[in-house]
């Protein structure tokens, strides 16, 4: 029993230091790369659990812009400032050191992160960089200039506004074409929410226009029945959904998409959501040990299965079965990770029975919302998180009550992640 506890408590760390970190000798420098739902939540909860810990946040942006609700900016229901929160108050309130720059490389032997000329030493490192976008195999989107003309708007910020502006500038009888990459990608229902809200905008402002949705997957990847019903009932004739559409080439200047099977399509607004993989800094450090694309983790601590002392959170991880790449999930993982690091610092057993949950709201119009929810528990035999059978589920239909709850959710999770 003692040995099992030791293994659980020490995990990969034992191999390097010989003993678990305990008490007064404990190294006390945690560095967090990325101030999103994963990284900021981890920093916040580490501070709550460890008033004296040295915590450094490496984040180049001065303001966090949340992806959830960003499709409401695309259709005009919200403005970017409604979904933005500056980092300065968060950082000072929680006593974080803030390195305003991009983490370029991780040296797991020296245990430091390179940010420009600065080297930031760590004892525990948390890497939560989000996703990178992969344009390999899409002819015509190889240069930054070409990519800039076709906003993915899959990281909320300037591109969200750019897509909004393009929709507004489009002729009344124009065509919008969006493409969805193969799973796994960030936010499984997100593209279908976006399609619904673009259709909602067109219906109100440009009813002669049309939205073409090209999905690399064979079917809708989340809330399928609900989205199909909404599109049929509210947006019939406005949305054309094309499954199994593999994007091969983009002519950004001419407004043309070319697909493997479906041929060429001309449109005035192109929204190409490219395939995704773990953030560059994670891949560069050798953390992406799942197909050189996603980062394997131990689900009791989110410690990398590739590099000891480095934890990975959020969209970059090789997710457990049924675990979506979502901001809510990253926020949840971060608390488990903060708990595990805290347990090691305190010299107690890492909590071995994590329970986390996902709640995901999608707007399908200005007011109406649908959700999917799930509860995930650790399976000690399979060493992974699994959805609890019988728990979780969907809305029965789009409704306004959940529209109110969705906005409350957005405020509360932002407070839970980045609140002062």
């Amino acid at each position: 029993m003692q040995r099992r506890q030791l293994l659980k408590a020490g995990a990969g760390v034992v191999a390097i230091t010989g003993t678990p970190w305990v008490g007064a000798q404990a190294p006390r420098r945690v560095v967090v790369i990325g101030g999103g739902f994963g990284g900021a939540t981890a920093a916040r909860y580490l501070r709550q659990f460890n008033p004296d810990l040295s915590i450094t946040l490496i984040e180049p942006a001065d303001t966090f812009v949340m992806c959830p609700m960003s499709n409401r900016v695309v259709h005009g229901g919200l403005q970017l400032r409604d979904i933005s929160r500056p980092y300065d108050r968060f950082v000072s309130r929680h006593g974080l050191r803030w390195v305003r720059g991009r983490a370029e490389a991780i040296d797991p032997v020296a245990r430091e992160v390179r940010v420009g000329k600065e080297r930031v030493p760590y004892d525990h490192l948390i890497v939560s960089p989000g996703v990178d976008y992969v344009y390999d195999g899409i002819e015509g989107l190889q240069t930054a200039e070409q990519q800039a003309r076709v906003p993915h708007a899959w990281k909320a910020g300037p591109q969200t506004q750019q897509l909004r502006d393009q929709l507004q500038a489009m002729p009344d009888n124009g065509v919008v074409a969006m493409t969805i990459p193969k799973v796994p990608y960030r936010c499984p229902p997100g593209p279908y929410e976006r399609a619904s809200l673009i259709a909602h905008y067109l219906q109100a402002r440009k009813p002669k226009a049309k939205l073409l949705v090209f999905d690399a997957n064979p079917e809708i990847q989340a809330k399928k029945g609900l989205f199909e019903a909404v599109w049929k009932k509210r947006y019939a004739g406005l949305i054309e959904y094309v499954p199994s559409a593999d994007l091969k080439a983009v002519d950004a200047a001419g407004g043309v998409l070319r697909f493997d099977m479906q041929g060429e399509v001309k449109a005035q607004v192109l929204n190409v959501i490219p395939p995704q993989r773990a953030g560059e800094v994670a891949r560069g450090a050798g953390l992406a040990n799942a197909g050189n694309r996603w980062c394997g983790v131990d689900f009791l601590s989110y410690e990398s299965t590739a590099v000891a002392g480095v934890h990975v959170l959020g969209d970059s991880i090789a997710a457990a079965p049924g675990m979506p790449k979502s901001g809510h999930m990253a926020n949840q993982q971060a608390k488990v990770c903060a708990g595990a690091i805290t347990a090691r610092l305190r010299g107690i057993e890492v909590p071995s029975d994590p329970i986390i949950a996902n709640t995901c709201y999608s707007f399908v119009s200005q007011t109406d919302v649908i959700h999917v929810a799930s509860v995930h528990r650790y399976d000690a035999d399979k060493k992974t998180m699994l959805p609890v059978p019988g728990a979780g589920g969907l809305s029965s239909e789009p409704n306004m009550i959940e529209g109110i709850y969705a906005m409350a959710w957005a405020t509360n999770i932002l407070n839970d992640t980045l609140g002062a």
Partner: protein, 115 residues
């Protein structure tokens, strides 16, 4: 999911009040080897999961979502109601089913302790 008889006394009282049969269940549990007790820190982490929607320390914005500092028994009764389908809900009935009664009691107790 392992059933643990580790509910605090007030939560056992709730259940005993609801159905006298449960007393037999309790004595049966006593006859078995005691199940491992989730640490207070584990419970704190479970509760932190709820805070994504219910706000840090349960201080939420939004009608009915602020649960920090509410009486444990009130919270526990609601959670059981959601789990058993006796209380209407948009999403909480789906979440509550992911936890044992004992876990719900511990989580309720944690939120009650937050000021």
């Amino acid at each position: 999911m392992p059933i643990r008889e580790e509910r605090p006394a007030w939560a056992r009282a709730v259940r005993t009040g609801a159905a006298g049969l449960v007393l037999g269940g309790l004595s049966l549990a006593h006859a078995q080897a005691p199940a491992p007790k989730a640490s207070d820190f584990q419970v704190q982490l479970w509760a932190s999961s709820c805070m994504s929607c219910h706000g840090p320390d349960g201080k939420a914005v939004g009608t009915g979502l602020a649960i920090g500092g509410k009486p444990a028994q009130e919270l526990y009764n609601k959670l059981l109601g959601y789990k058993n389908g006796k209380l209407p809900a948009t999403v909480m009935h789906q979440h509550a089913k992911g936890y044992s009664d004992d876990e719900l009691a511990r989580i309720a107790e944690h939120f009650a302790s937050l000021k």
